[in-house]
């Protein structure tokens, strides 16, 4: 096994191209488990922690965020322009740094439990993929193909995640046995976009890939009071939860049963909706 240490993005892309069987490593939370348990012996490890282009993030027209770096948790108001927010979980977000040994985000591998995925789906983020052949962008909504399979090609690296400017409340909630280090039993993200009058959802750990509930999105787009954000009836909130749960395709495993996951998703969806409606009203009051 070779260990490669590219120090620029160009070197990293060349290494990726030359070693299609190699495995890029950043936070290590997925790769090192496979190595420690002798499940996978790649021909090479490509250490990306020394590539400056992949450890930076910043604001452009949209936010440009390298995947392993957790952006600062969102705290800005819904009406401040130009600052996309990263939906913050109720509870703790993993530490905001690109250090190895941290992180449960793993966008490149498309693990259904990866915590980045539901917010990326809900906010309609784009994922930038680069190789020696060039750079392309794929919507998160088109990125997850099947279990552990994404649109990432063997010679590509994820060079950025682009979050659109937030135009409304964004929420992320997870159920887990503890906040640190343990992947979610199931998770849910919701984004309300007041400009496009669009609803985005994201479901984690409840199917072979991260999922959306398009039925729940369409239902809420029709029911929500986009002018004033008036509180929704109990029946609408309940229906939204049911639609989210019915979009999931969970299995029984050591972290929870499929039935529990469906139930938990309906509860999280209702809660995320209630939080979002409250935030929306506060936001429109401030921006008015």
């Amino acid at each position: 096994m070779e260990f490669l240490r590219p120090s620029t993005l160009v070197e990293a892309l060349e290494a990726r191209s030359a070693h299609p069987d190699g495995v890029p490593i950043m936070g290590g939370t997925d790769v090192m488990v496979e190595l420690n348990f002798d499940k996978h012996r790649p021909s090479a490890l490509i250490d990306l922690t020394r590539v400056p282009e992949l450890t930076e993030w910043g604001w452009t027209a949209t936010a440009r965020v390298w995947a392993p770096v957790s952006p600062t948790p969102g705290s800005s108001s819904t009406c401040r322009a130009g600052r996309p927010r990263w939906p913050r979980p109720r509870g703790r977000w993993p530490p905001p740094d690109p250090q190895p040994g941290h992180g449960r985000r793993q966008p490149g591998r498309g693990l259904p439990a990866g915590e980045a995925h539901p917010p990326l789906l809900a906010t309609d983020a784009e994922i930038e993929l680069a190789s020696v052949r060039g750079t392309r962008r794929v919507r998160a909504r088109d990125f997850y193909l099947s279990f552990r399979t994404t649109a990432l090609r063997p010679d590509e690296l994820i060079t950025a995640v682009l979050l659109p400017e937030a135009a409304g409340p964004q929420q992320f909630a997870k159920i887990g046995t503890r906040n640190a280090m343990v992947i979610a039993v199931t998770s849910f993200s919701l984004a309300l976009d007041s400009e496009r009058r669009a609803v985005g959802t994201g479901i984690g750990s409840a199917g072979p890939t991260p999922l959306r509930s398009e039925a729940a999105e369409e239902f809420l787009e029709g029911e929500f009071d986009w002018e004033d954000g008036r509180p929704l009836s109990e029946a609408v909130v309940r229906r939204f939860g049911e639609l989210v749960a019915s979009a999931s395709r969970p299995i029984d495993d050591q972290r929870g049963t499929a039935e529990y996951r469906r139930h938990a998703l309906s509860v999280m969806a209702r809660r995320a909706l209630s939080w979002s409606v409250t935030d929306y009203r506060k936001g429109s009051a401030r921006c008015a």
């Binding site: 290590g28 488990v33 190595l35 190895p100 040994g101 941290h102």
Partner: protein, 172 residues
């Protein structure tokens, strides 16, 4: 492959390193520092926690080659004193764990010590006062104790925080 790194203030070299092995393995098996414990090997239990360039991380989740040129501080580096053998004394956090009875089988203890040291650096050390129960529990949420001895561990953190605050107060 050869890996050069700084461990507990000392420049060290590990030879014959297999590129797929972890920093934890290098520390324990190649550098003779068995303080960091090998428990889950999947980044869930926190027993192998070390400082990696000043930030706490699971050393079982870091590939050996990623440590090239980096600074690592292990539980052995928490002891105060001269460093190699002889007259080292326990650090404030270590003393507090012993006094409070926070050590049962001891396997989780090294990780908890490093994580507690980091918590106290970020709170008392930064002039923010001693952390409360909720903050301590959150900071230590990544460290599992299979003896379920958490109550005494929380007591130990409070004790250590008080002493760090006293030290900081008398030093100014």
């Amino acid at each position: 492959m050869r890996v050069n790194l700084n461990v507990n203030g000392e420049d060290v070299t590990a030879d014959n390193v297999w590129p797929g092995e972890s920093l934890l393995y290098v520390l324990r098996e190649r550098l003779g520092l068995p303080g960091s414990k090998n428990a889950c090997e999947q980044g869930e239990c926190g027993s192998c926690t070390v400082y990696f360039d000043g930030v706490t991380a699971c050393s079982c989740m870091i590939a050996a080659g990623q440590a090239e040129g980096r600074e690592v501080r292990t539980v052995e580096g928490l002891a105060e004193g001269t460093g190699k053998g002889g007259d080292r004394t326990l650090g404030v956090v270590q003393e507090a764990f012993v006094e409070a009875g926070a050590v049962q089988c001891g396997f989780c203890t090294p990780g908890l010590l490093v994580q507690t040291d980091d918590l106290l650096e970020r709170t008392v050390g930064a002039g923010l006062g001693a952390p409360g129960d909720a903050e301590i529990r959150e900071a230590l949420a990544g460290n599992l104790c299979r003896c379920t001895g958490y109550e005494k561990i929380i007591d130990a953190v409070h004790l250590a925080a008080g002493r760090r605050a006293e030290e900081a107060g008398s030093g100014s």
